[in-house]
Amino acid sequence: MISKTQRLAVTLETLLESVDLAENIVVGVAESAGFSNEDVHKIGMAVREGVVNAYNYGNQQDQTKKISIAVEFDPGKMTIRILDEGPGFELTEVPDCLAEENLLRTSGRGLFLMRAFMDDFKVLRSPSGGAELVMVKNLPSSGSSNGSSQPK
């Protein structure tokens, strides 16, 4: 049982390889935390989408910029933070990928998938201006992990 915040942080370069690396790191942490295989898959995919977002849209593939990832454990939940060095964005300004007119768009589903796969999701603006994606998964023992695939 985790009684106080435990934190793991890693800073990655803005490279395509960082996407797989970030996913693998967090998948390993989630497995150790006791999540089911299905939840581990969802957490890994949410992190993947978050880092792809930072790589493509936040840092715009600028290799001089960094992508910071932090995994925090508090009683009952795991929180993942993905921070880029881009201009930031408002979640409300992102087009709804489920709208009929957007179904044939070839991009714009990453944020939706993060929301769908995690129990809580929000986008903050860091003091330096970049976007900070904050996603939470309830720990298995808390009994309230979102088992469905539907977004909130």
């Binding site: 989408e49 489920l98 179904l103 044939l104 768009r105 991009s107 589903r109 539907q150 977004p151």
Partner: protein, 105 residues
């Protein structure tokens, strides 16, 4: 007619690029009926989904048909929650998929 067996991951980078190149090659070489067998695809991310949408649009713009068969549960679930299950023509098995193609090509 072309049946494409894809396996592994369709994700940002190699998997998506291979799918894009393959569909483009088929269409440029006159194929208008393409059956994409995804039975061995166990992982698809939003980039992969985007590539499948691009494939669908490429084939449709060439007056062709792209159909999917043998979806794994994870690919099925992703298409469901993104509402793309209503866009793609998903067939239950290869035989019914082949019968469902219209006309020559």
């Amino acid at each position: 007619m072309a049946i494409v067996d894809f396996s592994g991951k369709i994700t940002l980078g190699e998997g998506s690029a291979i799918l894009r190149k393959m569909i483009r090659e088929l269409v440029e070489n006159g194929r208008r009926k393409i059956l994409l067998d995804l039975g061995d695809v166990d992982y698809i991310d939003s980039s992969g989904i985007g590539e499948m949408v691009a494939a669908y649009t490429t084939v449709r713009n060439a007056q062709g048909e792209l159909k999917l068969v043998h979806l794994t549960r994870r690919v099925h679930d992703i298409l469901q929650i993104t509402r793309l299950y209503t866009v793609f023509d998903v067939q239950g098995d290869e035989a019914s998929a082949l019968r469902s193609f219209r006309g020559a090509g």
